[in-house]
Symmetry: C2
Amino acid sequence: MKNEDLRAQFQIMTRHFGFLNKSCCSAGGFDISLIQSHILYEIDHQHKASVQKVADVLGTDITTFSRQIQSLIKMNLVKKTPDPDDRRVYILSLTTEGTYVATSIDQQINAYLNEVFSHMNEFEQETVIRSIKLLNNAMTKSSVCCTPPLG
Amino acid sequence: MKNEDLRAQFQIMTRHFGFLNKSCCSAGGFDISLIQSHILYEIDHQHKASVQKVADVLGTDITTFSRQIQSLIKMNLVKKTPDPDDRRVYILSLTTEGTYVATSIDQQINAYLNEVFSHMNEFEQETVIRSIKLLNNAMTKSSVCCTPPLG
DNA sequence: TTATTTATTTGCATTTTGCAATTATAAAAC
DNA sequence: GTTTTATAATTGCAAAATGCAAATAAATAA
């Protein structure tokens, strides 16, 4: 494999995903930004998601993140509960409406992805899915890049 | 394949790439933002890259893009040449320093990617590369998302 | 008890963004 | 050939997003 090829393919993929994400998402009367959809996703998937924890996972500056959460609270999609075990900490969770919006975004993105996958045959689809898992795995193992504290 | 799985894997991959990109890049004494690296890449790879054309490819608002170019010109990485065939148009190109910076970024990203790929065996590496090409292909074909005018 | 560390929020100044309007040129209509 | 319309690029402005430094509050270490 040639290196230039490698970077080019990743660049193109990143570009495509950028567009996919831009076209997403409206739900429950709100336009949800890419960042917001990631926050909702992460709150939904983490156990006892504190402000700090989610900010770390997303790699967002904590002060910026604090304000992002404030606007999601104002939109009534997220709520903040004091952690009984440590009163400095707030646990984030989705409101009923937030859960609805998160589910709706999930469906929209899945619809996009399914449409994309429909241009491949079944064998290719499975290869691609397996590959993305391989890649995610490799990136998790990587020391020089790609994971939260980052390097 | 389960849909939830699909979205989750893509979400994770997007996250990883976000980190990879954040840690990139410094070159020629400049900190180059993700957006700037994409602009440099695109100018380098397009034939007769006009302001409008590159903005479209990147999906950036033209007014924002115009200003992004201005700062790259100020950094002496990009230059603007009037198109002799249409005097409304400016053709973008990299300066010598811009070419150096673009090459350097290319090497940095390739180094990251190679490190990531080193956590896979050769067969997996080839599968992943082939899959990314398949995926890019499918996204190009997609009507609902992922490509410039977008949908 | 005091000092230090950690979680979160606010103040403020900088940067980024995008819509509306402007300028300049090209192409189309008449 | 002049007027209208369309296109490329830039600028004005006001809103939004960003991040550092500082503040507050609570936990842990000395």
